[in-house]
């Protein structure tokens, strides 16, 4: 097990280093000078001379060779310094710390909701194969992966916000400020974020239970006269969850992509919306550090999934 964990951790570390190189060079090799854009925006507030521009370039370290910039950036990250946002004039670390909790709050709720419901839906669909719940689950999972997240958000806003007036159509309130408001505002975004994950999980769970159902040890359990409840909870659930767990890491990536859209549709001040806005403003530091952090989180989640997978299923470790 230790050797397996060490191998996985080294792999993840290599992947993270390559990730940082990709992020850095994508940002640098593409056209557009952040300082010129910055100057354009503040030009109305009084002239910016080439000298000031040059001073700014030095201040943000944009005058140094690319490799030096890369190592400065990486060195800074290890010291907790993610650079300074050119549009917001505050540290990127501080900015992300402000926005990430919002994204995390909605993301976690959606993650838990979609996985619990997805597992249950897939399980019941497989146990009652060919019955209405199975057909319902199948159709739902097709729709779940086909519906555009932003459009679903729009439909919900139209129905529950504009026509029925039951739910607020935008914004975010921290739960400690107003718990009830936070709950009402987060219902529609969380539903949007959950749908695709729910569909994918339900589908995987269904086919994995269908396969387990036919194993010899399940037949043995039936012939011993065990009740359905015991067979399902003791024998089926654990084994059929293994492939579902691997999907969770991938599901997380899909969900982060979805958050960019959901936060835009519902005007939620989270990290996803920050990234979109920074991309438009060509705020290099925010996009660079934000993208890297999200990617690292995804890699780490996949690492945890891989390790737990090896823990649950020894066949993987020695494969």
């Amino acid at each position: 097990m230790t050797a397996y964990i060490i191998r996985r951790v080294i792999q993840a570390a290599v992947v993270i280093i390559i990730l940082s190189l990709i992020v850095f060079f994508i940002m640098r090799l593409l056209p557009g000078d952040p300082l010129v854009i910055f100057m354009g925006r503040s030009a109305g507030q009084g002239g910016i001379t080439p000298e000031i521009l040059e001073a700014l370039r030095v201040q943000y370290g944009l005058d140094k060779p690319l490799m030096v910039q890369y190592f400065n950036w990486m060195g800074g990250i290890f010291q907790g310094d993610l650079g300074e946002s050119i549009t917001y004039h505050i540290g990127v670390g501080k900015l992300l710390l402000e926005r990430f909790p919002v994204t995390l709050d909605l993301g976690l709720r959606a993650f838990i909701l979609s996985n619990i419901l997805g597992v249950l839906l897939g399980l019941f669909a497989a146990l009652r194969r060919g019955k209405w719940i199975d057909s319902g689950a199948t159709v739902f999972s097709y729709f779940g992966v086909s519906i555009p997240v932003f459009w679903l958000g729009l439909l919900l806003i139209y129905a529950f916000g504009l026509k029925l007036g039951w739910l607020p159509i935008s914004g975010y309130t921290p739960p400690w400020d107003n718990f009830w408001m936070n709950f009402k505002q987060s219902i529609m975004p969380v539903v949007c974020l959950s749908v695709m994950g729910l569909a994918v999980t339900a589908r995987q769970m269904r086919s994995s239970v269908l396969e387990i159902k036919q194993q010899d040890y399940i037949r043995t359990a039936w012939s011993k006269g065990l009740s359905e409840r015991v067979i399902v909870t003791r024998h089926m659930l654990k084994n059929s969850l293994i492939p579902v767990i691997t999907l969770m890491g991938i599901g997380l990536g899909i969900m982060i992509g979805g958050q960019v859209l959901v936060e835009t549709v519902f005007a939620i001040p989270g990290a996803g919306r920050l990234l979109v806005n920074s991309v438009f403003a060509q705020d290099y530091q925010v996009v660079q550090s934000g993208t890297l952090i999200i990617a690292v989180v995804v890699v780490l989640m996949n690492l945890i999934v891989d390790i737990s997978y090896g823990w649950f299923d020894p066949r993987i470790r020695f494969g």
Partner: protein, 298 residues
């Protein structure tokens, strides 16, 4: 060993030997949902090819006097703020969607398959460098990577294709890599090499053809995902440039009039969903018909 079941078909009841084609036909064409998907895709292709003949109005230039009309016999789905016929724009939008889908699949597929083949065939350091880079690319959520690339390159068809291509390339590389590893050890490959076949010949003539069934399935499923991603980029305003009709952009355009004219956003969304739905149905149908063992892998 108990027969593995796939949805709707029970192989234990299969009649005595059937040909490959017969089996394919039975599994693929006799499923109602798959047929539904095929019909939708057929309509989509017809719409894209014959767009100018099918549309009574210009999709780019509207009549401002006809601005924001509700659905009527003259404009079946109404008009947008610039007086452009929504139905005509939807029909022309199929060209955009299919162009993005097919061109991206072609570019990402060719590059990804080649990289996966090289990595799997040569192994060692080459494998390490290529596959770890692919892992790194996969670390980015697809939409996020495409967003960053598209935003930096600027909007437009070409840049959307590049962005989505880079974001989806690792998927092909991974499948091809796994496949190459399993095929490489076969005796007939060894025989080819013993007869003096070059690496290139072995790779492209003897290993690559094995990839056809899984690639057809992967590509079909990818087309749906790509159309969805292009719609998302266009919705955010960094996809297809405005006057060109794109379904995602049309949803965004209609957003402002959601309370008074909801059909402006509803119609393009329904089309996106139907098309993606159809690609997924057909992709799954192909997978079960070509090779049920791919279930769970793709």
């Amino acid at each position: 060993m108990v027969e593995k079941q796939t949805s709707g078909i029970d192989f234990s009841e299969a009649p005595v030997p059937v040909s490959e084609w017969q089996r394919f036909r039975r599994v693929f064409f006799e499923r109602k949902l798959v047929m539904f998907g095929l019909i939708v895709l057929l309509l989509l292709v017809i719409a894209a090819i014959f767009a100018p003949l099918l549309t009574p109005y210009n999709p780019i230039k509207g009549d401002l006097a006809d601005s924001l009309q509700p659905p009527s016999s003259k404009h079946l789905l109404g008009t947008d703020i610039q007086g452009r016929d929504i139905l005509s724009r939807l029909i022309f939008g199929s060209r955009t969607a299919l162009a993005v889908g097919f061109l991206t699949v072609a570019i990402a597929g060719i590059c990804g398959v080649t990289l996966g083949l090289i990595a799997g065939y040569f192994g060692g350091v080459v494998n390490m460098v290529i596959m770890r880079t692919m892992d790194a690319l996969m670390g980015f959520p697809m939409l996020l990577l495409a967003l960053v690339i598209a935003a930096l390159l600027g909007s437009g068809l070409q840049n959307v294709i590049i962005a989505l291509g880079v974001a989806t390339l690792p998927g092909y590389a991974r499948v091809m890599h796994g496949l190459t590893l399993s095929v490489r050890e076969n005796d007939y490959i060894l025989a080819q090499r013993a007869m003096g076949a070059s690496n290139i010949r072995v790779m492209f003539k003897h290993i690559l053809p094995n990839a056809l069934p899984p690639m057809i399935v992967l590509i079909t499923l990818q087309l749906g995902a790509l159309i969805l991603a292009e719609a998302a980029l266009s919705f955010l305003g960094i996809g297809i440039k405005p006057p060109t009709p794109a379904w995602g952009g049309m949803v965004a355009d209609g957003y402002r009039y959601l309370s008074s004219r909801p059909w402006l956003s509803f119609a393009p969304g329904v089309v996106i969903m139907l098309v993606v739905f159809a690609f997924n149905l057909v992709g799954d149908g192909l997978r079960d018909a070509l090779d049920p063992r791919l279930r769970g892998l793709l």
